[in-house]
Amino acid sequence: MSTNMNTIQDLADREYKWGFVTQVEEERVSKGLNEDIIRVISAKKNEPGFMLQWRLKAYHHWASLEKAQAEPKWANVKYGPIDYQDIVYYSAPKQKPGLTSLEDLDPEILRTYEKLGIPLQEQKHLAGVAVDAVFDSVSVATTFKEKLAELGIVFCSFSEAAQKHPNLVKKYLGSVVPYTDNFFAALNAAVFTDGSFVYVPKGVRCPMELSTYFRINAANTGQFERTLIVADEGAYVSYLEGCTAPIRDENQLHAAVVELIALDNAQIKYSTVQNWYPGDKEGKGGIYNFVTKRGKCLGVNSKVSWTQVETGSAITWKYPSCILQGENSVGEFYSVALTNNRQQADTGTKMIHIGKNTRSTIVAKGISAGHGQNTYRGQVKIMKGATGARNYTQCDSLLIGDKCGAHTFPYIEVRNSSARMEHEASTSKIGEDQLFYLRQRGLKAEDAVSMIVNGFCKRVFRELPMEFAVEAQKLLGVSLEGSVG
């Protein structure tokens, strides 16, 4: 089109700036998936017996699904077959035995996190955020652990939790996302290698944001982490998750599971800024982000709130959901999903209303640019007993350019006639007239695009913790460069 558009096009060539590789000595298992590999993973983690048994059951279930070719195919995404025997299921940087402090950590890894803007030294870190850093298959550091422990809050890697808090893990693991839930959840349950564990005891309001930063570094590996967060009665916790990966020509699989449990009057706020490597402009490489996230509002007046900003990954398949079991419980889902170049996203949520007077809110914003394909898929289900349930859904799509696509599949199932449902949807396009208007007022073309996109996403950004909101706005600007043409 005009140079109005070309100005933005010129910025296209800027690289994914988190795409570097860290040189560390790796310890990895051989390629492929079988019972022996699972036993090796479990042994390396020094897990209690119940974990190995659970993994093996999950593995057999997954193997039967794989045999039946039951990998989900209903999503609106296209990719070639994945060879699950060609993936390395465990890779970890070699560490000195008995790693107890950051001084023992490989300086290369420390530098990696510094480069990513996540310094692990507590004194350097943003005040009020504790970090669990997961590097490939293992958690390499967790900050502010002792300080949190004083309040009885457990914040540690999943491996540590399995050893030190086996009762909590046993009680809640798989209680929201059982290994039978779906193909990728079964795979994750069999091979998951690390992740974060959080337990906030009764009546405690966690004084700082907890966060996990996931980094895929090694080649030919998958990352399969599992996060479990339990907020006991009256507890509150806000949790953030960020992720990046190096630039590689092959696709890498990331199949994670997140389970949240909120007991009576508890609240969990879970925010994600997902920035996995999206592949190049032609769609070569990039992460397959096939993730199952679900929260259970088990107790009365409990609340689970999901906020996600999805800008990375070649393919995103992800539906952070809420099971609203406790009376008066509340589920929320705020989402911005951006697909540029050849990225594909099929994302949304499920709100399952079981308890009386349960309420849910869905605000989904999809942005498609380049050849990106963006799908919102949502399910709101009001069960028989959910008298007085309410749902509000707003679903908006923004198109940039004329080669991208936006798709919406909202499913609504109501089995109780007292339910109140609202659904709003819109589709709009950033037009040359909008850009010209902003440029006539002095804004540069790329600033004009960012302003329009940020305005579009405002309702979602408002839900993010402060530092994250700023980060998300910047990220969106970078991810959109070169998107108009």
Binding site: F436, Q440, R441, K444, M451, G455
Partner: protein
């Protein structure tokens, strides 16, 4: 001193010639009005001056303060002090009017290598301009033009002009869609800004706006050419006789 000098400007849209040789000179402090029937090329001229890039300039020159305007991007022209009040202002959901205006002002400040203005300093200046246009302060926290009435949108354009303090303002059919009270307020706002450093081009279909913003010169644009130029009385004559009598003679007319 001339602010703007247009020489033999030819402009195409989709290979169709809209402007067929425009000559125009605007001096500092002057108010010029471009009048003409629908489809005569008035809005095209306004937008070319604001550097909209969907138009192709096939011939001619435009110099602005002695510089080649046609080489500038829209944001550069804005930085150099050109402002256009849009006939159809666009909506920007999720961005407040106040934030938008401050961003625009600071973009222009950056272009001119001036200090940026923070929210604290911006607010008092802004309130003063709001009063000038009799606008409700609550409109400022609403998204840009979203849910604004036609009149509010046009007033908002003039408010932006007041904040950005241009050197050349082009008002593109600012009177369309305004009731008589709003028209008066908008005109008062523009008149209050008139000074020896500001040149204004008022593009309009009707004479009524010119009762309030009295131009120094009126140019009649017909079929892509300026067929006649004169003082404010020309506008009155057009009001009385319509454009028809001039369209008939357009073919042979020479620009004033």
């Amino acid at each position: 001193m001339s602010v703007l000098e247009i020489k033999n400007l030819h402009v195409n849209v989709d290979n169709h010639e809209i402007l067929k040789g425009i000559d125009l000179k605007v001096n500092l402090g002057e108010v010029h009005s471009i009048m003409g029937p629908n489809g005569s090329g008035k809005s095209t001229l306004a937008q070319v001056l604001a550097r909209r890039e969907t138009f192709t300039v096939s011939a001619g020159e435009v110099s602005y303060h002695g510089r080649d305007l046609l080489a500038m991007k829209p944001e550069e022209a804005a930085g150099e002090g050109i402002f256009m009040a849009f006939q159809y202002p666009v909506e920007i959901p999720g961005i407040s009017n106040a934030y938008f205006l401050r961003s625009a002002l600071n973009a222009i400040h950056r272009y001119r290598r001036l200090d940026e203005i923070d929210a604290m300093d911006f607010l008092p200046m802004f309130r003063e301009k709001l009063k000038l246009l009799d606008m409700d302060e609550r409109l400022m926290n609403r998204s840009v033009n979203e849910g604004f009435s036609g009149g509010e949108k046009k007033r908002n354009e003039i408010l932006q002009m007041a904040v950005l303090e241009p050197k050349l303002a082009i008002l593109d059919e600012t009177d369309s869609g305004l009731d008589i009270d709003a028209l008066r307020i908008v005109a008062q706002g523009v008149n209050a800004m008139r000074n020896s450093e500001l040149a204004i081009i008022v593009v309009t279909h009707y004479q009524r706006l010119l009762n309030y913003i009295v131009p120094d010169l009126v140019h009649v644009l017909v079929d892509g050419r300026i067929v006649r130029s004169g003082g404010p009385e020309l506008a009155l004559e057009l009001e009385a006789r319509g454009y028809g009598w001039m369209e008939a003679g357009a073919r042979h007319a020479t620009p004033a």
